[in-house]
Amino acid sequence: MKNIDSRSHTRGESIYVDDIPVLQGTLYAAVFDSTVAHGKIIHLDVTDALVVAGVERILTYKDIQGENQIGGIIPDEQLLASDVVDFCGMPIAIVVAISDEIAHVALKKIKVQIESLPVIIDPREAAKQNKLIIPPRTFQIGNSQEAFNSCEYIFEGTADSGGQEHLYIETQGAYAVPMENGNIKIYSSTQGPTAVQRTTARVLGIPMHKIEVEVTRLGGGFGGKEDQATTWAIVAALATFHLKKPVKCILNRMEDMRMTGKRHPYSSDFKIGLSKELKILAYEATFYQNAGAAADLSPAVMERTLFHATNTYFVPNTKVTAYSCKTNLPPNTAFRGFGGPQGMFVMEAAITKAAEELGISSTIIQHKNLLKENDLFHYGQHTKGCEAENCWNTAIDKFDFEKLEYEIQDFNSKNNFIKKGIAIMPICFGISFTKTLMNQARALVHVYTDGSVSVSTGAVEMGQGVNTKMLQVAAKVFSINHSKVKVESTNTTRVANTSPSAASATADLNGKATELACNAILSRLKKRAAIELSGNESEIEIKDEFVWINGTQTNLTWPKLVMSCYLNRESLSESAHYATPGLHFDATKEKGNPFAYHVYGTSIHIVTVDCIRGTYETEAVKIVHDFGKSMNTIIDRGQIEGGLVQGIGWMTLEEIIYNKDGKLLTNALSTYKVPDIYSVPKEITIYALETQGSENAILNSKAVGEPPLMYGIGTYFAIRNAVKSFNPKVKLALNAPFTPEKVLMALYGK
């Protein structure tokens, strides 16, 4: 089934926040932000800005009646800087004007005097100065220190991965509308409607029920609108609160890029120990996460780095420690993979280092150490339905890896200045919010008297196709045509206290809740049908919009049955609650069962490097992916392709550069490059490994949002292998992204 929004998308009829017809009297808010990464505000002068014709008001922290605080996990981030700015792009004041243009003209007339304080942009430097967001955490199993003593080979090194701009094509934005009695309705481009509601209420100093948040869809999120859409919603709501007028706040691209956080850059140390047989006996890593100036979601991201530190390998003795380092960058935030990719990159770097030193292919070490059924992760969970070897072996067979490897060796021996490289990237990703309490969701289902159905959940549609999947669930449970089901916008008054659409778990959580709600209604309908047909409830089945009894179709249609329920005063609505069973995690021991299940896959990457110019192309990525029983193959494949390409972007050309003063240099699309149509792999082959799935996955269709991003790591190592075959002696740092600059310097490096 195609994405249900496809038609309106291609016709330009889908509505995003900035497309909502504006109400009369709408004002526009623009944000005045710091150009200094760390400093004391000495004086703020808005007088010149205030006299600009059309400016209605300028708001500062003094205009906040509630708490000037937007920190979700830790209250450490002000909405508007009061006396200290902690990063370039930190909001200081809000200009509200009759047009967006006037608001921006006025911004330029605000003067602020800031006394500079020392700026830290390097996480290791922050750690040295003990500037940490939270105390470090360590996950361990076995005894790595002892195990190293029995290792035949031990290798140590450092691996760095860079940040990544989300680059949702729709920038951040919100539209706040005053309702009666001081209530405010906010149309927000957010992955977390409840976060917007809760935090707005906190800043305005009013109860949550006075704030209604409405989300129709997002023009891309990727984690960037999980926590960081909130600021702009509050900006609009604060102005509405004071001015009693509708207020729109839409960031332009450069504002968005400099004011919002990105994927966390990491700098990490690793130590890996192997037996003579190349079994990884011990692994230690220390991660320095560049959190930026405030916690945002960094502690949770850091936690997932620790969970995924050993990727898809069984390592009996593991000790991994992570530091969330406070620097003067915009607070970094969720981004597809959520710390997992950063952890896996280090593991793959360690294996690569070992393989290079031993003069063997990384694939030998990778293969020998893949997880097996019932293996124990370092966080105390056992694998269940482990498909690591199945994916790997299928990829090797299906894509004839030996032949590919041979062809590349042959090609390289015949070409001096074009080199090919090949690498394999297997993945294992845990599904669930690692914060157990967040694994809950609710759905509200109405069946109207004509038999049409309305489904509301806490899921936010951002292109991942979750609304399509919700519709499929309802249509399947009721056995009615897809056209009979409508998926509503996400609204905090219909479904409350939602977890953000994140962690790849949105379809599972909200789908299960939808399934429960539909089943409850279905059960009442069946009861009614039994009465109507004078039969037994157990003999009743609803199939293709007809009631069947004992396997025989009756004349009782879906609409008639629905109407009969109504006439007999039975409820045709249901709100259901779902909480993933079996989850627990004890942070004092760092052990538990945090994940509902794991997703596995293996990808083979082939690249070509132009050894004169230092440029490269990804020839092919061939993937075997564990979908479980995919409920929507078009949507799921789209997630694989999109995730892969985003991962390749992170590993190759997407480079975030801050100068030493903490100013973002790659602050526009002209300097920050995401993959275009020419830079994606020439071939992407996806082989859908149909596995059992998991009963915790909606309709046994495994979560697919984040896992494929990590395939992108394979392209990095394929490039590295190509570079090495041109210049075998080069001392090559493990440092992503592998930009053409780094490639050329490596090709001709000593």
Binding site: R7, I15, E101, V645, I657, S670, E741, M745
Partner: protein, 471 residues
């Protein structure tokens, strides 16, 4: 007053002619299908089609509406997605849906418009041109494979397209609504009533000015040069090629004469921006912008081109290489504009090559670029001109390196000696496009690449580069 057709509707407006078409479409006409992604022509979410009478027939080009002043729409047909929507989906819309080419949907309209532009384009419908038509559209969700399939699917459907009456064929086959049939006639009826004002800011395609200062452009008095007849056209008179200052990159790309002189032209120009930007960006704009990394500037520096500067009263001709005096400093008065570009027709012993490397191979600004024009008399270098971008305060004509090589035998030894001189001529800085050491190395590599590519039988990469590793 400006006059143009927006979809089906005739527009007459006194709004500032410097306002962007994007703002006009979204906030004046309330057509919200066209999206805002970056306002610098780098994402394609705001792509529209611009139809005009050209060579006596109606022609459509895709353009990014964020960089297009409405002043450049005068007398034209502007098409947004609302102007191609019919009751049924068009084959372009269907193909995107069929292949799963839309996820969040925000970039989708841009793709629909670019691909519809491809259907209307006079160029051949083949896979390469299909992909080229969406090379300016960024999608962050899909990974492009589904969109690629959609583009191929459309290409197949276009195989029966009637080249003679393209618009009619597309109407009959429900690619575009039937009102397109009357557009040519309606455009002819619109009087183009533009006046020019020598004291106002001169705007060609707007692709740089509108990136740098789109917020102030709306209120700027503008002299629109893009459509001036005397600034357009590519002609050959005797042994010289004359190009109007408002000739676009696409004009060059689709010019048969240019193609014959530069057989690798398509490959070279593929490295430069994207289809919608190539449709808008003028040569004069590129030269006057004086970006140290201007691709077309480097291209024409190596052709040792001359430019004709005019203030509408006086004219003077100077060498392009003498135009640059310092960072963004030109030998040009405020009133002057580039009227014409001239260069000598290369003879059969002349070779030309353009090289460019950036972070992303396409739709990106170069870390370094380089161009060479070289004429051989048997094995002797008779004439040579080399230009390097990204390594100096302005686009650099490598005078010393060129002088050194002139009259020398074409061999590896001389090229290696020339590199030493080249390195002394350039002075790259470290910035977001790369470290200075990288730009030095890259410029050397691109310099080598010219010879390796142009003279594979004389100069081998091994001869130039393998000694790197023997030490």
């Amino acid at each position: 007053m400006l006059e143009f057709i927006l979809n089906t509707k005739k527009i007459q407006t006194d709004l500032p002619s410097g306002m962007t078409m994007l703002d006009f479409v979204r906030y004046e006409s309330h057509l919200k299908g066209t999206k805002i992604g970056c306002r610098e022509g780098d994402c394609g979410a705001c792509t529209i089609l611009v139809g005009e009478i050209y060579d006596n027939s109606l022609r459509y080009r895709s353009m990014t509406s964020c960089l297009m002043p409405i002043g450049n729409a005068n007398g034209k047909h502007i098409v947004t997605v609302e102007g191609i929507n019919m009751d049924d989906l068009s084959p372009v819309q269907k193909a995107i849906i069929e292949e799963g080419g839309t996820q969040c949907g925000f970039c989708t309209v841009g793709f629909v418009m670019s691909l519809t532009g491809y259907c209307l384009d006079e160029k051949k419908s083949n896979k390469e041109n299909a992909i080229a038509s969406i090379d300016g559209n960024i999608c962050r969700c899909t990974g492009y494979k589904s969109l690629e399939k959609a583009a191929f699917n459309i290409t197949e459907q276009l195989q029966n397209r009637d080249a003679e009456s393209k618009v009619n064929w597309l109407i009959e086959n429900k690619f575009i609504p039937s009102y397109f049939a009357d557009i040519e006639q309606r455009l002819v009826a619109i009087q183009n009533t533009k006046s020019s004002n020598a004291t106002s800011v001169k705007v060609g395609g707007g692709t740089d000015l509108y990136v740098q200062k789109h917020d102030s452009m709306a209120h700027t008095e503008i002299d629109f040069l893009f459509d001036k007849v005397d600034l357009n056209g590519i002609h050959k008179i005797e042994n010289t090629i004359f190009l109007g200052g408002s000739v676009t990159v696409e004009d060059i790309r689709s010019n048969r004469m240019m193609f014959e002189m530069f057989p690798d032209l398509l490959a070279h120009l593929k490295l430069i921006s994207s289809t919608p930007i190539r449709n808008m960006a003028t040569l004069a704009g590129n030269f006057v912008n004086a970006s140290p990394i201007g691709d077309m500037t480097i291209f024409f520096l190596a052709l040792n081109a001359s430019i004709v500067l005019s203030d509408t009263i006086n004219r003077r001709t100077i060498k392009l290489k003498d135009f640059y005096k310092g960072y963004k400093t030109l030998d040009k008065t405020a009133e002057e504009f580039i009227e014409q570009i001239q260069f000598d027709v290369p003879n059969k012993n002349t070779y030309f090559n353009f090289e460019k490397v950036c972070k992303r191979t396409h739709l990106d600004i170069a870390s370094a670029n380089n161009a060479i024009r070289i004429s051989l008399n048997e094995s002797t270098i008779e004439e040579i001109a080399i230009a390097a971008g990204g390594v100096f305060a302005y686009p650099l004509y490598l005078i010393k390196t060129s002088t050194f090589l002139k009259g020398k035998i074409l061999n590896a030894e001389n090229i290696l000696a020339a590199v030493e001189i080249l390195q002394s001529e350039i002075a790259p800085i470290t910035d977001a496009r790369g470290d200075m050491e990288y730009k030095r190395l890259l410029t050397r590599q691109l310099f080598f690449a010219h010879f390796i590519k142009l003279f594979p039988n004389i100069i081998s990469a091994e001869a130039l580069l393998l000694n790197e590793f023997s030490a």
